[in-house]
Symmetry: C2
Subunit: 607 residues, 2 copies
């Protein structure tokens, strides 16, 4: 049988699976699978090389299903390839099945969760960049929907791919004209897509997405390009079933009752072909060997130093003992101090420019290939990548993020530059650890801990220089805290972190001069918060607690402490409770109620 | 004096102000002001029409400084125009001055805060769309930096402007080649910008941004276009001061010491010209007259109805009594049920396609002109606009957002589609109110309340249909709650919202059959939470509290209740504590610990 016939038959099998799976599940997106059946068949059984026995084999080409709602056909491809059983397809969307409604790594060939549209291309950029860095000649295929081309993140990724010269990256856009609630902006005007991608530095190839010859030719041509290539495939949503074809109103709806029989009849009987035979087995490729230590040499700090500077220093030191560490910047490396890493390890440094969504998406992609990406920008701007960060959790991604210039303590630049809700981005995410060190040595140690932690981690750093409180090399573990002032006479426990630790220390000195002692806890690990120590120290301080943080009241330290101490302690929570403004840092700490003066007052109020 | 000479002199005055202001403040971005001096002079004293006595006059052209770090030159323009005193410029960045480091509406000619890059163009799209809707022939000018063209949001906005045919929108890009940490991706390759904007449906005009004639001609030409126009201006960062011109490393740095004298000497003496005389006064324009009621007729609900359906119904009813209400969709209107509004009021309905950043940015823009935009998408995808939402607070924007498909109760579609951190996006924001109704009548009433609330509001809706609990027209005020089960014998207070209200009711019935009574509070207003009622009802239930929510543990209801009841009550917090998966809604509620069964257990544990 010739290749074209084989692929036509496999496409038909994929169509039948997609209809049956969503029918059995009673939900899902069959029509979006039907439009891509030939494209999927050609990719999985004509083009890509992969070792069906090992999803993590460096010999594999990588695949990202950016249009995650087409999960059924992805599962069908893996079943046809012999990776999972055909039988398992009937469990689509069952609570016990790894074949979820949208792809997640619960199915181990999925390396990054998708389903929030427009994220796949950045992930592909990250994977492709990682392959280039590891000197691998494998390729990455990102399968996209046309609707998600409206997402800005798609264009951030396009920029980045072109700028990085990722000719090992091929995007395929399934232009089926119909989105969830109606036609897409450009419908079947393929030429507009061509103009856009071309303007963004890509090589576009227009094809009929149901024509096997054209698909195969385009995939061949893609390999010869110096640029990233996008295959713009004109397709019909619901292709193969006349009453679904090109019809609005069928998005995300499985066939029910007689409809499925009608549809299956129209498609015809299941072709008898063993698709497994047509998987391209790759030649052997040795995985890159990383030096991968985490215990780096810490620096000595004589004078006041900003925690962001501590972060930057630690990143360089970590990079020296760990080849897997890479750094991605959003054009603020001279502020986050990631620039030292850029200067020291230019080949492991990636500039995403002012495109935070792509910065994080790229990081997810690089983590797919075993790199440990550290991404940094102002904490205020990490929200730009909120959805990528959310999805990274479902990707079970080992990415590390740093947000500098936290809080009103940045001063004159004003509220747009103040991260005051960044902790609330990271604390909800299961498994994500969150650090907020107060001095340079603890910042360094937190970087070590977050690198060691297998999973997502966030570190919040401060703009102004702060005094050196801790000794070089002291440990700052996940879930830890430090009690830095303590006596048997303490009248209150002050729970502070970052810049407010020093306000608490000022309040301590002032109260001491009045003969009153307070206990101070540096809650450098916001999540998981040190519940045991909080309970013990609160109790020893008469269960009178002041939490003071340079953050809005919800989602940060106050929230964590209130939950840990529920029912146990009286708590006064000092936080930024109104919209701040430009001013000097010390003026702002005072105006918004988180300075030593306010801590003093809170202690008085509790006693 | 001819116009060109006038504008040259004004540009020089703006340069001198920018240098002096940032020198006096000791911080700020002078070089980014210097590159745009001619462009700003031409816009404010050659092109735009505005009534210096009224920033809200509908006769005004509107201006958005998307590159917000150029605030000093904006303040200088307003001073030269006679809107603020020249004297006030020396207060730049002072805590008592409205002239903040980046623009905020504390200065009343600023309608939307900027400083997080790439947001201005969407705001301009919203303003331009609002003007078209109000049949105004005024124009909008959005002033952008080249660096922010890397932000995907810029391209979302570009798409939107072209699709909406906003030929009253003119963007000016100050292409000065240098960004914060180094050169931009495209440097002075103006042609690449031209290709991109052209591909996105705009009319690009390339000019020398320091040539007054070219600037004025471009602004004239822009008015003749059928399309939105972008003026791509090649400029020199630091223009006018030889040791700053085109030099990397000067971003965000004021001149210090002798440098400022050297710079001022090179620019020459302050030209003696009264710029006020050159402001184009607009002809009178009548503002649009809105029917602006909020008390709409509610519907009767006989059977189980999803709260998202209640939202959709309410939006239509509100639209009938209030002409200022507009709806913006992110291509999911058939899921959020905003589609009914689209069908009923097509002229007040705007499709942003799958581009949530632009959806919210547009909303901020429309609110600038007095419209009340309701924007809806899946709660999971609102995080895409996290930074726009954050900035909307600093814009003091009257925007309303709805997030549907909250929590694991959506079921089979899986985690990527579940909003589990959406409350944590909105609860930190000062002034933002947050609703989470449990049935259709309360959803309707919450829409009324959020429309009436002057400021940001968020409503969270649920996918499955839920029983009807409340009477038509019952009030659901800001900061309110409802105690729906109560006796003098209550053994615990269950605080629930949305879908978990019904789990609490199931637990109530089960416990009742065992002779145990519990109190149930429907905390439909998550923020501000009803602290007074919480304290009272917790106390009456023995200070034993169970909070149960379909959200991650941080930033939602549990956080608010813990803070409200700190030191007063024992609290068990049931929330989604690990990464969820696909499954049936009831299976997931149970698996992740927020079903009736888990409430029962928690009550037992507390007693």
């Amino acid at each position: 049988m010739d290749k074209k016939e084989v692929l036509k038959k496999i496409a038909k099998r994929l169509r039948i699976h997609s209809l049956n799976m969503t029918y059995t599940a009673g939900s899902g997106h069959p029509t979006t699978c039907l439009s891509m059946a030939e494209l999927a068949a050609c990719l999985f059984f004509g083009e890509m090389r992969y070792n069906i026995h090992d999803p993590f084999d460096w010999a594999n080409d990588e695949f990202v299903l950016s249009k995650g709602h087409a999960a059924p056909i992805l599962w069908a491809c893996y079943a046809e390839a012999g990776i999972i059983s055909l039988e398992s397809l009937k469990d689509l969307r069952n609570i016990s099945s790894p074949l979820e409604g949208h792809p997640t790594p619960r199915m181990n060939w999925v390396k990054s969760a998708t389903g929030s549209l427009g994220q796949g291309l950045s992930i592909g950029v990250g994977i492709a960049a990682a392959m280039k860095l590891a000197k691998s000649n494998r390729r990455v295929y990102v399968f996209m929907g046309d609707g998600e081309c409206a997402e800005g993140s798609t264009w951030e990724a396009s920029n980045s791919a072109a700028e990085l010269g990722l000719n090992n990256l091929c995007a395929v856009v399934d232009i089926n004209r119909l989105s969830q609630s109606g036609p897409t902006m450009h419908g079947h005007d393929i030429n507009t897509y061509t103009r856009k991608f071309k303007a963004f530095g890509w090589e576009p190839i227009e094809i009929d997405g149901h024509n096997i010859d054209q698909i195969l030719q385009a995939l061949q041509k893609a390999k010869q390009s110096e640029k990233p290539v996008v295959i713009l495939a004109r397709t019909i949503k619901g292709k193969g079933v006349s009453f679904l074809e090109d019809k609005n109103g069928w998005h995300g709806k499985p066939l029910k009752g007689d409809d499925v029989d009608k549809a299956l009849k129209e498609i015809g009987p299941m072709p008898d072909i063993d698709a497994k035979k047509y998987v391209n087995k790759p030649d052997k490729v040795a995985p890159p060997q990383f030096k991968k230590r985490f215990d780096f040499e810490k620096l000595n700090y004589g004078k006041d130093t900003a925690t962001r500077r501590g972060y930057g220093n630690a990143l360089v030191s970590l990079g020296r003992v760990n080849d897997a560490v890479v750094s991605i910047d959003g054009d603020v490396k001279n502020s986050t101090y990631a620039e030292d890493f850029f200067d020291t390890f230019p080949e492991r440094s990636f500039q995403s420019y002012i495109a935070e969504q792509n910065m994080v998406g790229m990081g997810i992609g690089m983590a797919v290939k075993g790199y440990i990406p550290f991404m940094a920008t102002f904490s205020a701007f990490l929200g730009r990548a909120h959805d990528q960060i959310r999805m990274a959790a479902y990707s079970m991604s080992n990415i590390k993020m740093a947000g500098s210039h936290a809080g009103v303590s940045i001063g004159e630049d004003g509220p747009s530059q103040m991260g005051l809700e960044d902790l609330a981005i990271f604390t909800p995410i299961p498994g994500c650890v969150v650090f907020y060190p107060c001095d340079a040595p603890s910042a360094e140690s937190c970087v070590e801990t977050m690198a060691q932690h297998d999973g997502m981690a966030y570190i919040r750093t401060t703009r102004p220089a702060t005094p050196v409180l801790y000794k070089k090399g002291e440990k700052f573990p996940v879930g830890g805290s430090k009690v830095i002032k303590k006596s048997s006479q303490d009248k209150a426990l002050i729970v502070a972190a970052g810049i407010t630790v020093f306000e608490a220390l000022k309040a301590y000195e002032e109260l001491k001069s009045r003969g009153i002692s307070i206990r101070i806890m540096d809650a450098f690990c916001i999540k998981p918060v040190d519940r045991v120590s909080l309970i013990k120290n609160a109790e020893e301080a008469g269960n009178k607690v002041v939490v003071v943080e340079d953050h809005y009241p919800s989602g940060g330290l106050g929230c964590a402490v209130s939950q840990a101490l529920a029912g146990k302690a009286d708590i006064i929570h000092l936080a930024i409770k109104s919209l701040p403004r430009s001013g000097k840092p010390e003026e702002l700490l005072d105006k918004y109620g988180i300075s030593a003066k306010h801590i003093l007052k809170a202690v008085e109020k509790l006693n």
